[in-house]
Symmetry: C2
Subunit: 494 residues, 2 copies
């Protein structure tokens, strides 16, 4: 056995154990009896401990030093293992343990603060989390990650090779066009009708299954269950999805399902040869989100596909007060001002992200302190959304991310939208008759294209590279903005 083979044999078990940890997470959110929560915490800690020990095992360092890759895929595997190993080594064990300890409690404190609608209850904790994450970013930067920039070094965990400067440049170009589009829509004379009524859970779930099938979800390698917050979980041949049901708002269930099918489809389409290797999963949060978003928005919310859903909704629920497929398309894509990121429409969503990204950058660039964060949030929100935040739970306290140390994570949501815009443009070029299929409830021409152009490669190419290879051009915000402006100007008769 060569060092490369030894390393890959070791890595294989590490990847398999990582899958197990993921499966436990799925169980916890879907199946686990409530009374098992504390016990599960210890079980998760035990397997995370095993994983951490393997990922930082000095044997890995020795193998990496000696290993020679047999081919390009092997070289990329070594690169990814070395990156993970190097990042782990760069963070002092004391700091890693302290972050784990603090964030495990901080999430609870955040939830309490949100429930009480009381920023002050959360701020001291957030101060500590930010201080620790600044220290982590500096430690990583000192080791050369993020080209020496602490925020970029954190971002690198979610979107490798992206930089805050690059993202800021894109966002600066996007923001005025989105703000203008938003204002035009909200001021438009024509406003589509809002869906009203009650849609029983069984019918919603049956329809969600139909939609997942329409998007080619492989039920032989997945399943759909209920969860409080929809998510997808697992790789290789076991990628499960979840959804939730609000009886007054079936779009919540249906579009969550399509979104998670996008994530799961990515995992299920990765080259089987990469199973249990560092290439065996989606390459970044941004590329992952591009798949979920193009499934959910550009395809799932298209006029062609909503026409098909409209028929299925009428089959399932009878007359629900929307008289035509056109009106239904309007109700699906209705733009509405709101405080909450996770409830935002396609036009508002990226404005929510830009706000968070700007504040994060300022926090890590020394231009903003935690004590001033709420004021900064509210000022920016008023500026972009034209509405004052009415309560902290609708503002600074709305997202869990910062409480658990996820800095550098938010921008990947918008990168996903931007990548989806690029992919959608290329897809329409390559599959010109796509709408005819979508109108029949067949998304396969699109999902096949995405499978071959993006999903199949798993972690083989870098994030921006996989998008560029699929589209023939480096990713930019242009296609997304063109798509949004064209779609919403037509819909709102602007």
């Amino acid at each position: 056995m060569t060092a490369f083979q030894d390393l890959m044999t070791f890595q294989r078990d590490t990847e398999a154990l990582g899958q197990i940890a993921g499966r436990l997470g799925w169980d916890q959110e879907t199946m686990m009896p409530e009374g098992a929560a504390r016990q599960r915490g210890e079980e998760m800690a035990a397997i995370e401990g095993v994983l951490h020990a393997r990922r930082t095992d000095p044997k890995v360092g020795a193998w990496l030093a000696a290993a020679e890759a047999p081919d390009a895929a092997g070289a990329r595997m070594l690169e990814l293992i070395a990156r993970a190993y190097g990042r782990n080594a760069a963070v002092p064990a004391r700091l890693a343990a302290e972050i784990a300890r603090v964030t495990s409690v901080a999430q609870g404190t955040w939830a309490e603060a949100r429930a009480r609608n009381e920023v002050g209850h959360f701020l001291p904790t957030l101060e500590t989390v930010v201080a620790l994450m600044r220290e982590k970013g500096q430690a990583l930067a000192a080791a050369g990650y993020g080209a020496g920039d602490p925020y970029d070094a954190l971002l690198d965990d979610y979107e490798p090779e992206a930089t805050a400067d690059g993202i800021a440049a894109i966002f600066d170009r996007m923001r005025p066009r989105l703000v203008a589009l938003r204002a035009a829509i909200l001021g438009a004379a024509y406003q589509p009708a809002k869906l009203a009524g009650t849609f029983p859970q069984d019918g919603q779930l049956a329809l969600a299954r139909d939609l997942a099938s329409a998007f080619g979800y492989d039920w032989n390698r997945g399943r759909l269950d209920l969860a409080v917050h929809p998510f997808s979980s697992g790789s290789g041949n076991d990628a499960r999805i979840t959804t939730r049901v609000v009886e007054s708002d079936p779009f919540n269930c249906l579009y969550s399902t399509i979104h998670e099918v996008g994530h799961a489809a990515y995992e299920l389409a990765v080259d089987p040869a990469y199973l249990f290797t560092p290439l065996g999963q989606g390459v970044s949060m941004g590329v992952h989100e591009s798949q979920s978003r193009i499934y959910e928005n550009q395809l799932g919310r298209s006029a062609a596909f909503t026409g098909w859903i409209y028929g299925r909704m009428r089959d399932r629920f009878g007359d629900f007060g929307i008289g035509s497929a056109d009106a239904f398309y309007g109700s699906v894509n209705r733009v509405q001002s709101g405080f909450i990121r996770t409830e935002a429409d396609e036009v508002h969503y990226n404005l929510h992200i830009m706000l968070r990204f700007a504040l994060e950058r300022d926090l890590f660039g020394g231009r903003l302190e935690v004590a001033d964060l709420e004021e900064a949030w509210n000022a920016r929100f008023l500026q972009d959304f034209g509405v004052a935040v009415d309560r902290p739970a609708h503002g600074l306290l709305q997202d869990v991310h910062w409480s658990v140390g996820l800095f550098g994570y938010f921008p990947t949501y918008s990168l996903g939208n931007i990548y989806a815009g690029c992919l959608h443009k290329a897809l329409r070029r390559d599959v010109p008759d796509l709408d005819a299929a979508l109108a029949r409830g067949e998304a396969r021409p699109a999902t096949d294209w995405l499978g071959q152009k993006v999903q199949h490669f798993g972690g083989l190419y870098r994030p921006a590279e996989v998008i560029e290879r699929a589209c023939g051009a480096a990713p930019t915000e242009g296609p997304l903005l063109d798509y949004l402006e064209e779609k919403y100007r037509a819909l709102y008769r602007l």
Copy 2:
């Protein structure tokens, strides 16, 4: 930290990882998409590898040598860890790997042979498995396990401190009384009616839930799902059960459920202080089975409790052709000749076990070879059951156990019945008005007694010791036989 504390800290994670492996097994049988099977095999192998490495880690040996127990529970913990460590050390790694390799394939070969009804397809594989297990038994015996006897050394894995000689003496006393009781019942003039009709799945499952609740199953720390073969899984605060539904035979679902509630109740009642220690689970297969059997049979199939079930069945299914609670009691407890152990009634069940035990002992005592096994099986079956085996799938090929190397496992089923007999006698003595509660669908006076007398102690006492402490006398077959004879003579009007 003392060596004892170091060892227990290490053990805690090992136990937690063991729980995770168990949860994966549950997922595999209940939730896992079919297409994930191969991948799951690798994931299971990865965590089993981690567990094996921990259980044989030389650090454990060093801690064991240096550890001093702070109290009796600590001493028992050390004893159990030392036993597991010593047994692992006694089996050469080459042999352990070979057994794992061969048995992982052998189960498939057995299933093929059973489907084809062809003993010859399985025998070469069984030859290999028996040879390997003989070698394992000899290696363990050479290290002093089973007091130097290879079969006892294997039995020790499932029912520590039991001996084949001791079990044989019990079985020799049981067999003539069971054979005579069986003959009398099958020749009786009165025969209870057999349940007929179709009982829809939803109603069966709803009733199964009611029965689990009647037996005090803690839904906050468990759940009920469907599986091909019912089982229970998990310890501490997460003990899940499964059942199956045959629409023509609701007793299958209902009594499988009560049986598994018995197993799960044991795990859920163990002293919480023992969680993630070697005392944190049921002490042996036999004692575990005593809980499932007393729940299922002595309590669940009692005249008092079946009277309550009868009312619930009529509420749920309307008139199903059994006109009285008495007749229903008869149909639940109907004795019928049959080839299959898992379908056997209380009278026949132990005869099935005695047959297997006798053959196993002869195989490991050098008095029987695999080539002659089918003939020996069929001869013994004819002798005890008065019927000739009509096909191998109803004889030698019916059970999976031997294909996966489970020798010494079968007798624990009957030990469970014997222990249940002893516990039931003591329970009736201590709770004289139990039938009044059972007739109201309340099993709690019985389950509380079992919880306090048996389940609470987990692995603290040795198997026979925990039964003796609960009953005030060492376990014997007498109470079980007295119970069976009394119950069935009355029922069959003998």
